[in-house]
Subunit: 714 residues, 2 copies
Amino acid sequence: MQLRRADTSLVDDATSAYIAYHDKYVVVYDFAKIHAKVAIAELTTLLNDLESTGLHTEVRAGYDETLLVFVQAPRELLGNSVYHARVKDWLYGIAKQHPGGTANTIVKGAYEAEDLLSLYHLVVWSKALGGAGITPQFGKWERVTSVFPLHHPRANRELLVHLSKRLFLSSNDLDQIRDLWGTGVAFYFAFIQAYFLSLAFPCAGGVLAWLFLPKYSLVFALIIGIWCTVFLEYWKIREVDLSIRWQVRGVSKLKHNRPQFQYEKEVIDAAGRVRHYFPRWKRIVRQLAVVPFLLASTLLLVLFIGAVFALETFIGEGYDGAYDNLLEYVPTVVLAILLPFINNYLEDVAGSLTEYENHRTQDYYEMSRTQKIFVLQSITNYLPILLTAFVYVPYGKTIIPFLRNIILSAFGVKQDPNFTFRIDPDRLRNEVIALTVTGQVSSAIEELALPYFKTGVKEWWRTYRTSHTFTGGATGRMRKGDDPVEARFLRRVRKQAALPSYDVHEDISEMVLQFGYLALFSPVWPLIPIGFFINNWFELRADIIKICIEHQRPDPVRSDGIGPWVASLEALTWLGSLTSAAIVHLFGTSDVWGIGKWWGLPITVFASEHIFLGLRAVVRWALQTIGSKHIRKERAERYAERKKYLDELEKSAARKGHLDIVERERRKSVRMTAADVFWTRQVEEGASRAAGVGLIRALKGPECDGDVKASKVD
Amino acid sequence: MQLRRADTSLVDDATSAYIAYHDKYVVVYDFAKIHAKVAIAELTTLLNDLESTGLHTEVRAGYDETLLVFVQAPRELLGNSVYHARVKDWLYGIAKQHPGGTANTIVKGAYEAEDLLSLYHLVVWSKALGGAGITPQFGKWERVTSVFPLHHPRANRELLVHLSKRLFLSSNDLDQIRDLWGTGVAFYFAFIQAYFLSLAFPCAGGVLAWLFLPKYSLVFALIIGIWCTVFLEYWKIREVDLSIRWQVRGVSKLKHNRPQFQYEKEVIDAAGRVRHYFPRWKRIVRQLAVVPFLLASTLLLVLFIGAVFALETFIGEGYDGAYDNLLEYVPTVVLAILLPFINNYLEDVAGSLTEYENHRTQDYYEMSRTQKIFVLQSITNYLPILLTAFVYVPYGKTIIPFLRNIILSAFGVKQDPNFTFRIDPDRLRNEVIALTVTGQVSSAIEELALPYFKTGVKEWWRTYRTSHTFTGGATGRMRKGDDPVEARFLRRVRKQAALPSYDVHEDISEMVLQFGYLALFSPVWPLIPIGFFINNWFELRADIIKICIEHQRPDPVRSDGIGPWVASLEALTWLGSLTSAAIVHLFGTSDVWGIGKWWGLPITVFASEHIFLGLRAVVRWALQTIGSKHIRKERAERYAERKKYLDELEKSAARKGHLDIVERERRKSVRMTAADVFWTRQVEEGASRAAGVGLIRALKGPECDGDVKASKVD
């Protein structure tokens, strides 16, 4: 099965060896749940829409009751679309120079993703924008399950081989990812690479802290705080650098309305463009609805996780009745079963809220949605640790026996008078280690192994169930009716059609969560960064494999960074300055302020936060002063571009010298006002000097007589 | 004397009625302390440098041993310089469009300040940049005391008359200020206008709070916090709007090296320009020296003011020995005498530090210096209130008797056993009122009355001392040797030459300090904003008069906002969220947390700060989402400018339709690879549809036979 699965996007076959991948898209049409008549009508419309855009189509059978509509753009159409896209970039100030050429110019994309992006736009953009308007799973295209570009097996393989030889990814390596999958995905890899490399510093710090510093060390917390800050400010500059390198700076301005966007009216802007207008203040008001939602969700999650946590602690440490060993796992199991449901429900609500916010572009929509989900994820991830640190350890002695009494008396169980409760002092550390390690492992399973397995099973089931439509053995299976020449190619495409699409935000979110553990809880266990360091080296490579094998090829959409995730990272760093300080204060050995642990806590947290803020201001100021070399380069280029005008200007540099005679005479001869007379008194060459010398001599006396000539020149 | 003084810049005379003010500058050369030989040599160089730039000069006698070198640019030179400046703006991306014309084009400035700026550059820019390189009070021009443009009496008067009729300044009014004095000054007036107007809100709030809210009201503190935040975010947008309106956005990029700037080497940048390079990291390191300086200064000021404060309190309230009444004023007098010295000394150090930082442009230099001075000023201004609020009132009961004992026993004075110390509960309020009111009054005196008086006395002294060189009475006085026709004009210029130059940062700093009182101490006395509101209405007008009468006309340098003052305002607002909360907490009636005033303080401050930060994030996000209409307009314009290209592109919109027959045949006829075959199967029109329909029917069964034709079109 290994080979059969892997070849989906990595192994060429006879057909695909010669195929070009820069101009092909596949539209998957599912007619399982509708009447054939409707299906035929819809298919007809679909094909008409595609063909009237100038695209060429080929229809083949997919899995089950689906059709694969292969879309190819003729060379002229695609080349012209790419050219138009470049002109548009220039029109919106993203590219600095007009690409040259005229309306009918045909160009080849500089890299595969550029061509593909134009093709993607031809398929999905509205007809008004010159596309076919195929919007999968929306409106009249509800039964178009997906629209995706074909994986390029050779390029995928080459990328993997190339990267496997490299320890670190350079900008050139990132360029290759951009060439294949577009800037949106490339920025994720740029981020994980930068993050991975910078982790070396907390790793070294962690080892030293582990060897030489006390537990819950303030120094180590500071080191991590500084690192977080410096890394973030560095990344902001790196992001700008890359966005200039990839010519996508400010690309979000250019994005088009998502089909779900509902506008109130059309307005014509100053440049004569028709704009779909939805008042900004209305969106702002709608977005404010997120505040009660997040508050309610937080409360719900806190209550639920808190209850499970309390029950677990009670059973594990405070309960010694019947079935002790068995019962201990019940709360965790309940949590494990129920939490996904709760999360799913909340994520659905978050999705609806985001839909209600009525974002104009897909970008903003996705960002807004992902941010909400991220907050929910953060709560589920960090809350158990926070509860352990700030409730269980300090208050456990009071709460657990209290809980025990309540629960035991509720069940009428006789209480053991000899019971004494002991807090597990290492529980915080163990919790952090468990959550981070299991987090990494489980995410690896979730991302790689599970989908692999799931897809395998699905495929087997599909093959088994529809075996009447397939012939041939395991390696040569083909659908009845397939042309044998195309069989392998079609099999690959069918597999890809069944894969989920790739959401880069999910991967970024995982990294941000990881960063959060570091920022929030680093003093608990200084060796955490080492685990992350190792994990991320693999993560980067695994994610590339994941995109190649587990997902449809991503639409090569453009973005100019990782967007709002930078804000999330900043928020986590900030929050970290609070939690780290609180942990060091509560768990560290010394009572700094000499007024008791709890009285001193607000002061510690306050001090730590302001040290962090001061530090951040300095780092930000320093790094922004040094600035982005790409920005400077860009400015210099724009300047050079305009330089040719300057050349002409410089020819006139020889315009110096005193007023020429004509002008001098003119000024003397014209009819003058009182004011003009003033300016004509010393018109003659040397007259000003003579007047000045006269005045000086008048005041200084005759002492300088005779020296005047000698001192004429300084 | 009134009229005689006022006419300096407001009253025309026979000469100046017809004079043009857009092309004149005056260089003041002082040869009092040098030998005539040197003076003549220097004057010769000065005149040569000016004349070799193409400027015309007239020399007249100034006050004392000074010469007034009148500089006028010939129409051709000035017009061409203005044109070059516009081209340069375009070269550096400040203007969006090339102004048209060629190297020798001559244009008239759109307003007076534009011409004047070019003339200013002709006088002060280095020879390499085409100027005469006259840098007053620096290097070989140490004895050039000032270089200034002549006040335009009629324009000044018209501006004053115009503004006196207007209650509020509109953007058009600000345009007039810009026309006369350049954007640097105009931005100050834009700021004070915006600030003044927005004060209406805290005024109304203050009255309501005074009527209906308890003393030290939390609600009022919140209102002021919100107002500060909203005003600041609004101003940022307004700043951008104005900088676009005045075409100065990003103008700081274009600034030239100040002569004091020392570079390490010359480098050629990507655009082929010679750049004077001084490593940024070195400047950063040098700037870090400000940290110990500010810490030390703060300590010094805290100690000094604290000591005086303690002494004053002790004598006023804790001391009842001999000379009580007299002694009470001693500390204040000592403070009043010594503080200016200390401040001057610290400001000198700040100046040297800034010099050491080696800023490339005058802008950065001034900003850096002004910021340092601002911090020092803030300490002297706010510290007494802070001491009263957080030391005197809470700890006075302990400290004052303690101090009393120490001091009395040091002097061996017998102690009165019946002495009891009572804290003055209204002292905080009185202190705030006194400081703000006297601050406004004393600044008005310092700015208007004092210079008026000083200049008057100076002038009288000068006239008296040099009476042998002057003839005529009070109204018609003229220097001996003056042409009677020019006498009045020269008298005006001599007066202007003796005036100080105008530093806009000082005026902004005053407003920022005022804003600080509001942000930091508003809950103490809710009626403060009303005083400020009234004051600022006059302040705005008084400042215009001040520039007209008390100062040389400002060099019309450009800037794109009030620069780093925005950061100062932000810092004060932030700080205010701490101090206001602390004041409300300590002086308010309720003990919110029920754990004692002092234990609860960190919690209150912490909570307040984070409420403020959250609020600021929301306000910032909302206002930036709504955004600047000028930015949108600018973008639209840039788009429109590029639109003509689009028009051509749109002609090709008719490139739709299926592949034409030729292409279709070509594709069928060329030698094909296996992959190509795939894409030729359904080339014929309708073939894709037929194939799809076939597949649907095969799966759905024959149920749909007969419907196919009917459903051809959706």
